[in-house]
Symmetry: C2
Subunit: 324 residues, 2 copies
Amino acid sequence: MMKNLKINLWDLDITNKKLAVISHVNPDADSLGSIMALGLALQKNCQSITICVCDHIPNALSFLPFINTATNYHLTESTQYDICFVLDCADEKRLGESQGILDKSHQIINIDHHVSNGFFGDINSVNPHASSTSEIIYELLIDNNITITPDIATCLYAGIVGDTGNFLYDNTSAQTHYIAGRLKEYDAQSQLVSYHLYQNKSLGSAKFQGYVLSQFESLCGGKVAIFSITLELLQKFNVSIDDIDYVSSIIRDIEGIEVAVVLKEVDSEVTKVSFRSKCDFDVNQLAQKFGGGGHIKASGATIFHEIEQAKKMVQKQLEIEIRR
Amino acid sequence: MMKNLKINLWDLDITNKKLAVISHVNPDADSLGSIMALGLALQKNCQSITICVCDHIPNALSFLPFINTATNYHLTESTQYDICFVLDCADEKRLGESQGILDKSHQIINIDHHVSNGFFGDINSVNPHASSTSEIIYELLIDNNITITPDIATCLYAGIVGDTGNFLYDNTSAQTHYIAGRLKEYDAQSQLVSYHLYQNKSLGSAKFQGYVLSQFESLCGGKVAIFSITLELLQKFNVSIDDIDYVSSIIRDIEGIEVAVVLKEVDSEVTKVSFRSKCDFDVNQLAQKFGGGGHIKASGATIFHEIEQAKKMVQKQLEIEIRR
């Protein structure tokens, strides 16, 4: 098992091999951008390639070039692969049905930027200093002299934009900007990316955002912002759970707020909670109190109670933690 | 009169000269970032330097390094200057009281990125392809071998972030990203910039944003979003005009909207209008119809009528323009 390896694709003899490229469930711009970029880059350089996405593709990402060529994978399939590239996935368990491909692959190449990556591949190229897996794929293509077409550049640009909050978060390095500049020179359609990721929210989603900002509550002397999303509320504003990822960041980015909490009703017995922090408050530890986890500034948990009860539990814990 | 000139500061013998650096009224991140960067960069290389800001500095920009050393200028002052650098200002009339400095300056150097710049300087370095005046100042410092300190880098980074909507707008070029990367290597405090410009809106401003998203109107078959900000509304939400620059972008970034219009009541006879476009609609031309101007995708005008009347005038013009 090797880590942080620069991969030489030609030494792997990909030209004669059957390849698969897969990523995690709940796909985001980085997972989809990186698998599409690698898939498009390798398709002329291998025997065959299969790009698998075993989940619903969010509407906002359906503009990614050739995303409709990505296929679902069914566990009953018997195809064997020489190499399976697993991208942007810290843990095999997050692969969903695609996990089945691992058993049918001769070699697994794990390419990721999550610090928690478990190095489950035969080859592991894991760089937690990269903003995104797309940034690592860019370096991989350059190192292997593979042409970056405008479509590949657009996919990689989308991945970087997605994981850096459009160059806002502190994972944005000087190198991230240099790569973004190079991708624009390779004719990445950056305006298409900006448009679909940031400038095209649905009217329902805009009105919902207005409602969130008008109605969120603040707790713990104004340090915590909290908002509950019930199934009834989603229906009222005609928005899907896809559309509302931004809720925790909009209530976090307010003066004085250190922690943002968003509760989502799954059903009458299950509530998902997401925590976001600004400043130094560790929401990974907080989420662990409810059996969840994540990063210091972004974490989540599933609470097996109805939403009002879950809110009370979170509120109680926050009052203890914030006072410390 | 010369345009698009690379300026050699040493040929201008700045070491022995008394300098002024000024910018426009209603200062934004680019005007303040660029004058502070140039001011800090030249202060060790000249006889004396005065940085003038003849207007209120928005709270969100009070973090800029040494911004408190910028002074007001009063028309009664008699100081003479050898060189006055005018930054980010297409038209001398936008200088406010600082315009008085021009008459007391031996030489005027006009550095700007607005396509509408009138070349009013003795030397004019105007590059409409630059994202921001801060981008031009970066090149100027590099070309003249002037050290970029972390404070200067932070000011320039803030200017670029401000004028590109944090690298979102289509004035963001490959060169913009390369410069942003270099500024990070010069230790620009990019997280401080992100925090103050995007992650620290006041509670009043957040609630106001919620109100805007709930209440904006759409016109011209859903292609135009329009919102009127009266003095009464500002008072109700306890927000200042400083805090609400974002209004036009949040209503523009909605599915189907091509142009966003925000009207601001100044008094019972004066209304300011700002126009923002997505797609190809030229709001510079639209603003010119009302005696204003700006860029293709961002422009403004002052209409000498009360806000409801101004709204009707704008609406009428939009119905003609959008139909074309």
